[in-house]
Assembly symmetry: C2
Homo-oligomer: 250 residues x 2
């Protein structure tokens, strides 16, 4: 039995939801509303002590971290395969998934979290302190404070732009004629990078857009958006309600 704890249309959740959709796998969906801080509740922290989404639970066993969840899904449900069998190609694919893991969130965090500011502004001082106290890691607590105070620094924004540029430059020079990042094979490289690239196009049109010199990345993005599984997992639904962040690509 597969269960997914996720936050619908948020980036890391879409990464895993798309992987499951490409495999055509059924799962029990547990939608957590980040605006209600449901991912900080004790019952979820028992599954993921880091208090971040998503988490996959397979036959009662939690698997954490979207990059690792997708590798697990492909190992246990190998059809259709989403990783190359050859070790060298696999190491190259993982350079892409690691790029997504290392630079994806950094690229989108200041802009994405700004959308939470109005949500946080509606909390009373007591509610706010109670929420902060439930955040299980210092790292995330700092991010919530910055979102509440709208205090992401110039350095945070520079780091976001540098991360976005790094991702786009790697794709622009690496995708070739594609159609996918690993060439003919559609893999976790494409799946893991899409949520961030999709938002980079929304937040930083000067880095990725018709006026930026990024034709190959844009063409890849369009090919991705045409995939039925992408349409299914990137569009609001009962399972993944519209979030505070606008849906990209519209």
């Amino acid at each position: 039995m597969l269960e997914l704890y996720h936050a619908g249309l948020t980036t890391c959740s879409k990464k895993v939801r798309l992987c499951l959709a490409e495999k055509g796998l059924d799962y029990r969906s547990h939608y957590l509303d980040l605006r209600k801080f449901e991912h900080h509740r004790p019952e979820y922290l028992a599954i993921n002590p880091n208090g971040v989404v998503p988490a996959l639970v397979h036959d009662g066993e939690p698997i954490l971290e979207s990059m690792l969840i997708n590798e697990y899904i492909d190992a246990v449900f190998p059809n259709p395969p989403l990783r190359p069998a050859d070790p060298l190609a696999l190491a190259r694919m993982r350079l892409w998934t690691k790029l997504a893991d290392n630079y994806g969130l950094a690229a989108v965090v200041p802009n994405t979290w700004a959308f939470y500011q109005p949500v946080l502004a509606r909390l009373s001082a007591d509610e706010y302190e109670k929420m902060i106290a439930q955040v299980p890691t210092d790292e995330r607590r700092e991010q919530w404070r910055k979102a509440a105070d709208n205090s992401f620094s110039a350095h945070d924004h520079e780091k976001a732009r540098a991360s976005a540029k790094r991702i786009v430059e790697k794709i622009e020079t690496g995708v070739g004629d594609g159609p996918w990042l690993m060439g003919q094979a559609y893999t976790l490289a494409d799946i893991d990078l899409l949520p961030y690239v999709d938002r980079i196009a929304l937040y930083f049109p000067d880095i990725l857009g018709p006026d930026a010199d990024t034709p190959r990345t844009l063409a890849w993005l369009e090919r991705m958006r045409e995939r039925p599984a992408v349409k299914e997992s990137y569009t609001p639904s009962a399972d993944a309600p519209a979030s505070v962040v606008p849906v990209a690509g519209k």
Copy 2:
């Protein structure tokens, strides 16, 4: 034919050198002296455009990123196995290697790079600017500037301490009776975390040491230091000369 481009006793290089030593694999060693900025030279950038060590070259094909190199080595040279075969155990092992990858360098960078300050101070203004111009990424350029100016910020040092704490806490609560991080099986989890934990003990004795409440982590560290392959790869040798950073565990 295996070739390793590495910087001897530096953290990420030790990660891969230990993996190769545990496998008993022979390789052609290319030692790069970071104090001479040999990792920024065009001939190395042709292998790793990011200008960081190590890089493995197998039959002419470069494999990058220490975490991914070690997975590659274990896939291609499976004896003795350093990863569990079961997908769930493998996902758990990767939580450890990802912990090393995400927090290891952050934990040690400000202290380690401070040792480079005297090296940089000996450069003329021209030599310094020439060196900086050769650094291929903004991220690394910023680090070299901070090392030269001795300008790692209070925030950098706080982040280092928080990263060190996170690693030690995860090991302290996760290693159980061991002997290894995955229990009876010695894996890449142990290999990938060791270089950082070894330095955390050196830099932050209040976080990891006899006066910190970390008996399980210290016991694991001692078990690791007793392994012949660790002694071989963590001790200065012709292949891995003493660096600017003191050898830990002495």
